[in-house]
């Protein structure tokens, strides 16, 4: 049954981008998002393609851990996808405590994608970083912020988990520093951001791009204020949004929230990705788009509440992001994908 529905998804999603656009032109799509509002470029042409977003694997050192199983299942599903996604974006938190063994384990899984002919890109999450301040991660994966062009779209990845020093004054060991920030509700860690170096880089990176360039930006945390208590935010997101405000349309994809969540700010649409490890509950604030959410999770099923996403972009830079799950998690209205 699961195999059947997966095949059905692949067939359906090939047309999903266009279907989303058609539905949107007639009425606000599914009553949740008015895609007709989304600005599309008249000049820039995108060659339609799909890519996968996966993240928040939170791998532990121990063997046969439950999070190995869910991550492995996701990797296997991605490898079996036909047509193959053009690339996979890992959106942070490969490891739980930034340990070398955890990151090595994660890299072994990701390298299976590469062997199957699917390249991947990666940005860090706080769980990858604060044991050795990103040393191992950078040795394995290179620069934590980057950009590239693919089939007419400019992709940007940034490291949004940089905090101010909370450990020196408290005389904390690297392990204590890591354990503190590994808690979502860490109340000594402060707010995350991308900080000056990346803001300067971003400004230069997009300086010569015309406003009709389709932009997709990846960060671990949302580029809008959702629930700062859990760092469901990026402190200098207003500056990032300002730099990107010259573009007609920007799609911003983030991890960290381990849940289905959607928002719009100015020229940007924001969407959250599921974790492969475990789901987070919704925080005590109103959702900007309450219909774009996930359903109740069965905590007895390790494959419920988790998954990844497949994104399709059409030739007018209208997109649809479809959550790939193994349980009844996505409401009927958005089962075929969230329009971007």
């Amino acid at each position: 049954m699961k195999e059947m529905s997966r095949r059905k998804f692949i067939k359906v999603s090939a047309k999903a981008g266009m279907a989303a656009f058609t539905a949107g032109a007639v009425s606000p799509l599914l009553g949740v998002v008015n895609v007709t509002e989304a600005k599309t470029s008249k000049r820039s042409k995108v060659t339609p393609f799909r890519f996968v977003v996966i993240g928040d694997a939170h791998l532990y050192e121990m063997d046969n851990h439950r999070f190995d199983k869910t991550f492995e299942r996701a990797i296997n599903d991605i490898i079996k996808m036909r047509p193959k996604p053009d690339f996979v974006l890992f959106i942070g938190d490969l490891a739980q405590f930034g340990k070398v063994k955890e990151l090595e384990k994660g890299k072994r899984y990701l390298d299976r994608l590469k062997k199957a002919g699917i390249p991947y890109r990666i940005i860090p999450g706080e769980h990858d970083w604060y044991l050795d301040m990103g040393k191992t991660w950078k040795e394995m994966f290179g620069k934590p912020y980057w950009s590239f062009d693919h089939k007419g779209v400019h992709f940007i990845g940034m490291n949004s988990i940089l905090v101010r020093d909370y450990w020196t004054a408290r005389n904390m060991s690297p392990w204590e520093r890591m354990l503190a920030i590994a808690e979502l509700e860490c109340h000594i860690c402060g707010l995350w951001g991308v900080r000056e170096e990346q803001l300067e880089w971003l400004e230069k990176d997009v300086k010569n791009l015309s406003p009709d360039t389709p932009i997709v930006v990846f960060t671990h945390s949302p580029l809008w204020d959702y629930y700062p208590r859990w760092n469901f935010q990026t402190e200098d997101a207003p500056q990032v949004r300002q730099i990107l405000s010259k573009f007609e349309k920007v799609i911003a994809i983030h991890g960290h929230v381990h849940q289905v969540v959607y928002n719009k700010t100015g020229n940007m649409v924001h969407i959250g990705n599921l974790a492969t490890a475990w789901p987070w509950p919704y925080p005590p604030v109103d959702l900007p788009f309450p219909k774009i959410r996930m359903l109740r999770v069965d905590p007895g099923d390790i494959y419920d509440g988790v998954g990844f996403a497949s994104t399709f972009l059409d030739d007018t830079f209208l997109g649809v992001m479809k959550y790939h799950t193994w349980a009844e998690l996505i409401p009927e209205d958005i089962k075929d994908g969230v329009p971007l």
Binding site: Y60, M62, H65, R66, Q96, E183, L184, E185, H187, R229, W230, W278, P279, W280, P281, Y282, P283, P284, V285, R296, D298, P299, G300
Partner: protein
Amino acid sequence: MRGTRTLVLLGLGAFLGFSINFLINVAEARKPFEEEDLKAMNEALMELVKKGDELWHSPKLGNNGLTCANCHPDAANTNPHTFPKFQDNVGKVATLREMINWCIQRPLEGKALPEDSEEMKALEAYAIYMYRGYTLRPGDNTREYPPVKVESGPGYP
């Protein structure tokens, strides 16, 4: 004689009056707690809540490195005010303590705590405190409720 009768009646009246007065005093029970007493009692509770917070974030309850906080930051989605209720994963009407033990045994792959243990009381106290102010809704399986909104600090005094 008349004088004596009057005195007896007066005496009886005084006794009854005194008794009624006395009974009213009894009905009022004790004096309200002094500020100091209230403070000490609250401190005792906060000590338990703090212990619960520490356990909530400790992998020692389980065997796979997970903590309660992995899925329930700030005790979110524990809905303590909706217990007791039928829990389909437990297969019966469960108390909050039974549900905590279910989580320890299943997602955390650990050993159930004795339900009257200090650890269990502390975990329960933390979860309930993070949902302070909610109306009791025993049996409510209709939705998930968020915990109190925390601006800063651990979420309790």
